[in-house]
C-alpha cells in the first residue's frame, strides 16, 4: 500500500501546476474561456510540449502514461487552474483511437485536435440509446444525425463519431470540415459544439464499439473526478481565506461555529471525493472499472455541488460576482455533473449492479 505519487508523476504534477499558475492565471482564463475559440491555441501547444497529452496515453500508443493515476495527475492540475483547454476531448479520443489500433501521434503532439462525438439530445449519457445512423456507401460510410455537447468540437480537426450500423453502435472518423459544426462557449467556460451530420462521409474505425466507448467514458470520468477534486480544493481554500479575513459583528466570520462546521463538512466531502477518485483510477483498467467510475461520478456530483453552493453561500454576495474567481469555480463544479453522466445516472448504474448480484 502506497498513497504517494511516483517520482515521475510528482514531477509532471509539479511542472503542470507551476506552468498553469504562472501562465494560465484566472484573469487570462476568463478572457479566453467564454469567447470562441474558448481556449488559448498558444497555451494548448505549450501544454502539449510539457507532456500533458503524452501522459494520457500508454507507451504502446506512443505516450508515457495512460493509467488512471496519470490521468488524475493531469486533470487535477487542470482543475486547480480551471483550465478550459480541450484536454478531455483529447483523452476520450486517445482512448478511442487506441481501441481502434489507430495511430495517435498527431493527437499526442497537440498538432491535430480530436473530439469524441458520443452524446445525443435523447441519449445524453447512455450509448445504448444512440440513434445517429450510419450506412455503407461506396467504399466507405455516410452518417446522418445530430451529436450534442461535443466537448472540444468547436476547434476540432477530426471527430470520432458514435453511430448505429447494422444495429450495433460503431465508431467512425469524420473530418470536421465535412460536418456542420456549431460551436459555442459553455456557461462554465471552455467550448463544445453541436455536430450536424447529413450523409456526411465517414471512415469506419470500430464496427462494434460499445465496449471501447464504455472504456473511454470510464477514463473520461476519472479525468472529470480528478478535475473536480482540484477545483474543489481551490474553492475550499479560497473560502477558508475569506472566513479568516472577512469581519462582521467585529470578528472574522470564521469564528462563528455555524460556518466552521460547514467548512469542515466541505473538507470531509473533498477527502471522500479524493478517495473515491483514487479508487476509480486504480480500477480503471480492471474488470470493475465501470462500477467504480459510476460510484466516483455519483459522489463527485454530490460533493462538487455542495462545495460550490457552500463556497458561494459562505462568501456572500462577493461570490455572486463575475470578478471574484470563486464564481467560476462554482460554475465548473456544478456543470461537471452534466458531463459523461450525472449523479442520478450513475447511481442507477450502481443500483442495477446490486440488483443483479
Amino acid at each position: 500500500m502506497d498513497f504517494n505519487l511516483t517520482d515521475d508523476r510528482r514531477m509532471l504534477a509539479d511542472t503542470l501546476a507551476r506552468y498553469l499558475a504562472d501562465k494560465y492565471t484566472i484573469e487570462h482564463r476568463n478572457e479566453v474561456a467564454y469567447e470562441m475559440p474558448c481556449h488559448d491555441p498558444a497555451k494548448w501547444d505549450e501544454l502539449a510540449d510539457l507532456g500533458a497529452l503524452y501522459a494520457l496515453a500508454p507507451e504502446d500508443a506512443g505516450g508515457f502514461g495512460g493509467t488512471g493515476f496519470d490521468i488524475s495527475v493531469v486533470f487535477e492540475a487542470l482543475g486547480r487552474a480551471l483550465c478550459p483547454e480541450p484536454v478531455l476531448a483529447a483523452l476520450l479520443s486517445s482512448r478511442l483511437l487506441g481501441a481502434a489500433g489507430a495511430d495517435q501521434e498527431a493527437l499526442l503532439t497537440g498538432g491535430t485536435k480530436y473530439a469524441a462525438a458520443l452524446s445525443e439530445l435523447d441519449a445524453p449519457y447512455d450509448i445504448a440509446g444512440i440513434s445517429c445512423a450510419a450506412e455503407a456507401r461506396g467504399d466507405g460510410h455516410v452518417l446522418s444525425g445530430r451529436k450534442t455537447a461535443v466537448y472540444g468540437a468547436q476547434v476540432a480537426d477530426v471527430l470520432l463519431v458514435a453511430a448505429r450500423l447494422d444495429g450495433k453502435v460503431a465508431l467512425f472518423e469524420v473530418q470536421a470540415g465535412d460536418a456542420q459544426v456549431v460551436g459555442y462557449a459553455m456557461i462554465d467556460g471552455g467550448g463544445a459544439a453541436e455536430v450536424l451530420l447529413d450523409d456526411t462521409s465517414a471512415r469506419l474505425l470500430i464496427a462494434d464499439a460499445a465496449a471501447a466507448i464504455e472504456a473511454a467514458l470510464n477514463a473520461g470520468i476519472v479525468a472529470l473526478c480528478a478535475e473536480a477534486v482540484g477545483a474543489m480544493e481551490v474553492a475550499h481554500d479560497t473560502t477558508l481565506d475569506y472566513l479568516r479575513q472577512r469581519k462582521q459583528f467585529g470578528v472574522p466570520i470564521g469564528k462563528f461555529q455555524v460556518l466552521q462546521h460547514r467548512a469542515v463538512d466541505m473538507l470531509t466531502e473533498i477527502e471522500q471525493s479524493r478517495s473515491i477518485t483514487i479508487k476509480a483510477a486504480a480500477e480503471l483498467d480492471g474488470p470493475q472499472a465501470t462500477r467504480f467510475a459510476a460510484m466516483a461520478k455519483n459522489m463527485i456530483g454530490r460533493a462538487a455541488r455542495l462545495v460550490a453552493e457552500e463556497a458561494i453561500q459562505m462568501h456572500g454576495g462577493i461570490a455572486m460576482t463575475w470578478e471574484y474567481p470563486v464564481s467560476h469555480y462554482a460554475k465548473r463544479l456544478v456543470m461537471l455533473d452534466h458531463q459523461l453522466g450525472d449523479t442520478d445516472y450513475h447511481l442507477a448504474k450502481v443500483m442495477a449492479g446490486n440488483a443483479a448480484a
Binding site: M1, E271, S273, S275, I276
Partner: protein
Amino acid sequence: MDLSFSAEDRAFQDEVRGWLADNLPAHISDAVRSGGELTKPMMEEWHALLNSRGWLAVTWPVEFGGPGWTPVQKHIFEEECCRAYAPRIVPFGLNMLGPVLIKFGTRAQQEYYLPRILDGTDWWCQGYSEPGAGSDLASLKTRAVRDGDEYVINGQKTWTTLGQHANKIFCLVRTDPDVKQQEGISFVLVDLDTPGIEMRPIRLIEGGHEVNEVFFTDVRVPVANLVGEENKGWTIAKYLLTHERTGIAGVGFSMQALEEVKALARKVRRGSGRLIDEPLFAARIAQAEIDLEAMKITNLRMLFKAQEQGAPGPETSILKIKGTVIHQELKDLARRALGPAAAPFPGHVSDGNMMFGPEDTAHNAARYFNNRKTSIFGGSNEIQRNILTKTMLEL
C-alpha cells in the same frame, strides 16, 4: 499509488482469516450476527482465545505482551474480525488503560495491572463523563481530596459502559479546584469493591442495559493508584482519546451492515418483486455503498499516513464523523427494510423470527436505536468538527 496490501500483509490476512475460521466459536459468532447482547462469559471466552494466540492487546508493544503490529496489520485484523462476526474487543482495559499505563504508569503499576488485563482477572470500565461534563469533559467535578496516603473521592460518573461486568474503574477526578480546569485533573485507578461506591444501571432507548452511573461517597483510594503526576490527568485523557481512535471509522462494521442490508433487500418481497428492485430503497443502499467505498480508501489513506508519520493525525476526526453517519444510515435501512415486521420488541415474540422470514433480523429496530449513540460518544460529531476546525482549517 498502490492500493493493494503487500505480500507480507496479505499473508498476515490469510493467517488471521484461517485462525478465525478455526477458533471463533460458533455460539459467539451467531450471537454477534443476530445483533443481540453478548453475555459476559462470551466476551471472556473470546478474550481468552485471543490471548492464547497473543492477539488480544493489539495496541501494546511486544515487550508488554502485544503482537507488535503495524497500523495496517491492526486494520487487517479488525476487518477480518468483522468479516467473521467476531465480537468487538472490550476496549476499556485493553485499548484504553493498557496504553496509558504503558506510557504513564510506574513499573510497579505496569507489572501488577497489565498481566491482569491480559488474563481477564480485571475488567475495567471508564469513569470520564459526568452529568454536568459531557462534551466539556474538562469541567468535571468529581472531587478527590488528599488525606495522608489516600484520596477521598466524592462525586458521580455516568455513561459507564459495561460497568456492570467490571471490578475496576479508571477515573478522571478533580484534585485542584483553584486552577485552570485542565490543570487540576488527575487520573486514578479505583477498585469497585471499595466502600462508598454504588453502580446503578441506565436503561437505554432500546431497553438494553449497556451503560451505568457510578456514585462515589467518601471513597478512599490509595495515593499509589494515581497514574502519572497529580494534576496532569488531562494530558493522559487526551493521549487516551488518540488511542480510542484506532478503528474509529468502523469500516469493517459498516461493510458487515451493508452486506446484511443487501441480502435482506434481496429476500424481502414487496408485491410481486423484491425490495432491492424498488428504486427508492435501492438508491439509498447504493448511495450508502458509494459513501462507504470512499470511506474505505479515506481510512487506508490515513492508515498509510499514520504508518509513515508514526501516529494518527487530527484528520482522523473525519473518519469518526463520516464513519458513524454511514453506519447509522445502514442501520436505518436495515430497520426500514422490515416494514411492519420491525415492530416487535426483541424477546416479546417467542421465536425471534416468526414475524418474518429472513434470519437475524429480530433486533434491527433495536440496533438502529442503539446505534444513535455512535455519533454522540467518543467525542460527539460536533466536537470532532471543532477539532477539525482548529487543527485542519486554522480558523
